[in-house]
């Protein structure tokens, strides 16, 4: 099936799909822990700067993606102070690499992920956690045995949404890491590039169909998971 798909999409399309899957996978995986922490902090925390954190998390949703990409470039470019330091001390380079595409995708998908998780956490009755505390469970044990199992479908829903968003991210990615086939050319970048070439309508159409399928599957999956949250909390 893989061979048939790559035949159907053409070599560039297939490379772009493979890269997009890799970028989206890592973007989702890496943002899961900080996403869960942010969601917990926003849902349950009462601390100074909570509003600021909320704003920061949601900022990529509101900002023009090109601005987000530009800011990443300014901070993490190879000649920017942070980017240069990362390259020298840790050997990590983001600019014009697939890792940079993953970072841009992670940041753009972060608000969606945190939002889904936060809604799930807010649906959990904190009095259940109180009950667990009276039974002797430590805070870590309460999280592991009560909170996490109850919000797990919400966590998965958030991850699915972030994955879909990462598959489709364009503006921040192309600004930060450009559009290099085989390096940083993701599915949307490939569609954009094909659009510039006259007579590539079929390629464009096929890439577009693929993108729509990915988005629909992700949405359906996250919807199913959200319902599972409600079911789990109701104990059915």
């Amino acid at each position: 099936m893989g061979a048939a798909l790559s035949e159907w999409l053409g070599p560039d399309g297939a490379t772009a799909l493979a890269l997009s899957l890799k970028v989206a996978f890592w973007a989702t995986l890496v943002s899961l822990p900080p996403g869960l922490i942010c969601a917990m902090a926003l849902a349950r925390g009462r601390f100074w700067g909570r509003g600021l954190l909320n704003g920061l998390v949601h900022l990529p949703l509101i900002l023009p993606p090109v601005v987000t990409g530009y800011l990443l470039l300014v901070v993490l470019g190879r000649r920017a102070p942070v980017g240069a330091w990362l390259e020298q001390s840790l050997g990590i380079v983001f600019a014009f690499r697939w890792t940079g595409a993953a970072l841009a995708a992670a940041i753009m998908g972060f608000p969606l992920m945190v939002r889904a998780m936060r809604l799930a956490i807010e649906a959990v009755d904190p009095r259940l956690e109180e009950a667990a505390a009276t039974l002797g469970a430590s805070r870590a044990a309460i999280f592991a045995t009560i909170t996490l199992p109850l919000i797990l479908p919400g966590v998965i829903a958030g991850a699915v949404l972030a994955f879909a968003k990462a598959m489709g991210e364009f503006g921040a990615t192309i600004t930060f890491v450009s559009n290099i086939p085989g390096q940083t050319q993701t599915l949307p970048s490939a569609i954009y590039a094909a659009l510039q070439v006259p007579g590539s309508d079929v390629t464009v159409a096929r890439l577009v169909i693929l993108s729509i399928v990915v988005a629909l599957v992700a949405l359906a999956l996250s919807e199913v998971m959200s319902r599972a949250v409600a079911r789990r909390i109701a104990g059915r």
């Binding site: 009755d125 009095r127 259940l128 109180e130 009950a131 667990a132 505390a133 009276t134 039974l135 002797g136 469970a137 430590s138 044990a141 045995t145 009560i146 199992p149 109850l150 789990r232 909390i233 109701a234 104990g235 059915r236």
Partner: protein, 354 residues
């Protein structure tokens, strides 16, 4: 033994209480909003009061003077919540065993089988809480708290959400809990019937203050305490045990103060029972009534008289150390010349089981 002293100020409400809860069931009795739940939340460590000291079995749980404030985890108070709060994603068995893995080393541990047996949970173990009735949820909540090997159990109106029939179904389990386990129990309620049936110690709370506290038979036969209770439903309790089922359908109950006959009670000889004698059901006379239909007449001595409008609440001491309350008119008090020390007879028109 639990010793509680708390002061706390909410907007528009001040709590200032001190009481002891010895072994057995200590009922915190008072109407809604009187501060009962605040007190037990402070005992469980779910709420920090402005000032106070809470000591359970010699262990200081909270002391504002020395800045001791144990977490709920460290306190080990088995809290049975009014709304059960069972974990919805776990089965009944998993709920029951939840606290056991965190339990104190060396604490007395009832086994799962014992608790399942005590609370009649046998058929429920594989089920999820959402599929249980209110009464079943309440019982699972009690079992879950008990299996965490608590120092003390708190039961916050576990019957409040249940209808009369379910209540009657659970009360025997609570009695077994009281009689079969050594764990002291703090029992919150605003239903006098429950309290008289279960409690060994009664603490009456009104608007954030303790108005009366002590052994239940003493508090309930105290005319001043009775007067602060709502309605005409005041009355003392007498404890006794069944000695015989008479052939004419009466049950003979022997108390330290004498034998009482009540219409057939479904109980076997030897079983301990509490009888509630309402003040309005007691008649006082100076000599033993001769040609009367009343079966239960006990010799008594007037202890206290508290006028309460046109009637008075008279506390009489019985020969065995018990006490009764009688509500009679002030006119009768004058006509009989009743005063503390007067020897008389208390005729009990009817006594109800609690």
């Amino acid at each position: 033994m639990l010793t509680v002293a708390l002061r706390h100020r909410f907007t528009g409400f001040a709590l200032n209480v001190a009481f002891d809860a010895p072994a057995g069931v200590t009922a915190l009795f008072g109407r809604s909003g009187s501060g009962k739940t605040t007190i037990v939340n402070a005992v469980a460590g779910l709420l920090r009061t402005d000032a106070g000291r809470i000591v359970a079995d010699g262990r200081v749980l909270f002391d504002s003077a020395t800045r001791v404030d144990l977490t709920p985890q460290q306190r080990r108070i088995g809290y049975v919540f009014q709304d059960a709060r069972l974990f919805p994603h776990l089965t009944v068995r998993q709920n029951l065993l939840y606290g056991a893995r965190f339990a104190r080393q060396g604490a007395v541990a009832p086994s799962l089988d014992t608790v399942v047996d005590l609370l009649g949970l046998g058929g429920l173990l594989p089920r999820r809480p959402a599929l249980l009735s209110g009464g079943e949820q309440a019982r699972v909540g009690i079992g879950r708290a008990l299996l965490a090997r608590p120092r003390l159990m708190i039961l916050d109106e576990p019957l409040a959400a249940l209808d009369g029939q379910r209540r009657a179904e659970i009360l025997p389990y609570l009695e077994r809990l009281r009689d079969d386990t050594a764990v002291p129990i703090l029992y919150i309620s605003h239903a006098m019937a429950e309290v008289t049936r279960l409690a060994t110690t009664l603490v009456m709370i009104e608007a954030g203050r303790v108005t009366q506290a002590g052994p239940i038979d003493r508090v309930l036969s105290d005319p001043l305490a009775a007067r602060s209770m709502e309605g005409g439903d005041v009355g003392a309790v007498l404890s006794g045990h069944v000695t015989a089922q008479e052939p004419d359908g009466l049950t003979r109950i022997t108390t330290p103060d004498g034998d009482l006959l009540v219409p057939m009670v479904a109980a076997s000889p030897g079983q301990t029972l509490r009888l509630r004698v309402k003040a309005a059901e007691v008649i006082l006379s100076l000599s033993r009534p001769q040609d009367s239909s009343a079966l239960n007449v006990l010799p008594a001595t007037v202890a206290r008289i508290e006028p309460d409008g046109p009637t008075a609440l008279v506390q009489v001491r019985l020969d065995g150390g018990g006490a009764l309350l009688a509500r009679i008119t002030c006119r009768s008090v004058a006509a009989l010349g009743l005063a503390p020390g007067t020897a008389c007879f208390a005729t009990i028109k009817s006594a109800g089981l609690v």
